[in-house]
Amino acid sequence: MDHLSAETLARIVDETPRPEEHEHLAACETCTAELDALKAQTEALGALPEILTPVGDWDVLEARLRSEGLLQDPGLFARLGLARTPTWMKAAASVALFLGGAGIGVSVASHGATGSRTPAVPQTAFVADNTTVDNAAVQDAAEALRAAESNYVAALSRYQELRAQQGEDADAGDPRTRYAALQYLVAASQAAVRQAPADPFLNGLLASTLAERQAVLSRISSQSAKKDNWF
């Protein structure tokens, strides 16, 4: 007796057998057993479980979403669990915070002006006298700052590159986690620079963070490339 072909049995798993196939199956234990096995296999495939996402996957995704502008941070009120606070109350709180901050600023500035505390940056570098700002001097200083930042970023990148070439990895831990963490710092630095665009410290911090993030990204890419080059 000719048995049904394997592909015919595979079809009958979820399709009605033709009359002659039905007749054969009724008489052939071998084909019936094979069909049952194929049905069990199909059922088992349909019941395969979900697979756990690797740990840290969300962190990397979050960083990417943030860098593409697809993710927005919850506001301060939401973070404090006050998302449902009425708008007028939020506005009042914001004004109070602003006035409080301004008050502290004025107090600190006047305290510094009395001479009891030395300014961190020599004022002569930026200010010609106590009342008139020398625009040329400020522009020169800003230009020098940008050049210094640029040199720093280039030097840091080169340093990271050389260190990677030597196989050194002083930054312990998973570079993807580090990348995700740096994304937070980039977002925070960007927000800070938006608040105070001319602040040299904040600009320097942002530049350093961006350079470090780029270096980590390069390291992740080179690691992936090494793994891909098995052939």
Binding site: A6, E7, L9, A10, R11, V13, A37, L38, A40, Q41, T42, A44, L45, G46, A47, L48, P49, E50, I51, L52, T53, P54, D57, W58, V60, L61, E62, R64, L65, E68, G69, L70, L71, Q72, D73, P74, A78, S224, K227, D228, F231
Partner: protein
């Protein structure tokens, strides 16, 4: 909060809403891209890409289909597209999927391990069709749409894939008996 509210907030970029969707659906998304990709490293990239695409497309989600179905389709398309690209770069070898971190076993762990292994050993074309039909429950028409083939071709590939899968499982079962592992046969 209902799912449609969460989806609306996620479409506006709300971090918490996006995280909620991720927590709810990431195992399903990861499962399908992992099985398409064949290894964890590729699967992580594919899953990331699928999520990026989905979040980007969220504002266009109208709720005509269930969100899970919509997301699943994006994940499958994204992974298949990425796989096609990577295939032009390198020849793929099937790695042993012994370390696939499945959700705590509800059934026969040994059976699941062998099914995953046999799936990875299937030729690529067969694997895609078998995966989409028998694992993910796609119809032949849907498979045709996703893979760009006719429903008839999908059927024909499926029947061949089932037979090949059966052979692979038999071989795995035989190998297990040779090394004294508990035999399992379908």
């Amino acid at each position: 909060m209902t799912e449609s509210q969460v989806i609306r907030q996620a479409a506006d970029g709300d971090a918490r809403a996006i995280r909620t969707l991720y927590d709810r659906y990431s195992p399903r998304v990861y499962a399908v891209v992992r099985r398409i990709a064949g290894d964890d490293e590729l699967a992580q990239d594919y899953a990331q890409e699928a999520w990026i695409r989905a979040i980007r497309a969220l504002p266009s989600f109208r709720g005509d289909a269930r969100f899970s179905t919509w997301l699943h389709r994006i994940a499958v398309n994204s992974a298949l597209q990425a796989l096609r690209k990577s295939e032009t770069r390198r020849k793929r070898e099937a790695p042993a999927p012994g370390d696939v971190p499945v959700v705590p076993a509800t059934g026969d762990a040994l059976l699941q391990r062998r099914l995953e292994r046999a799936l990875q050993d299937l030729p690529e074309g067969m694997r895609r069709v078998l995966l989409l039909h028998d694992v993910e429950g796609y119809t032949h028409e849907e498979i045709g749409d996703v893979l760009g083939v006719t429903a008839g071709t999908s059927k024909s590939q499926l029947f061949k894939a089932r037979v090949k899968m059966r052979e692979l499982l038999r071989a795995l079962s035989g190998a297990a008996q040779d090394i004294g592992e508990e035999a399992w046969t379908i």
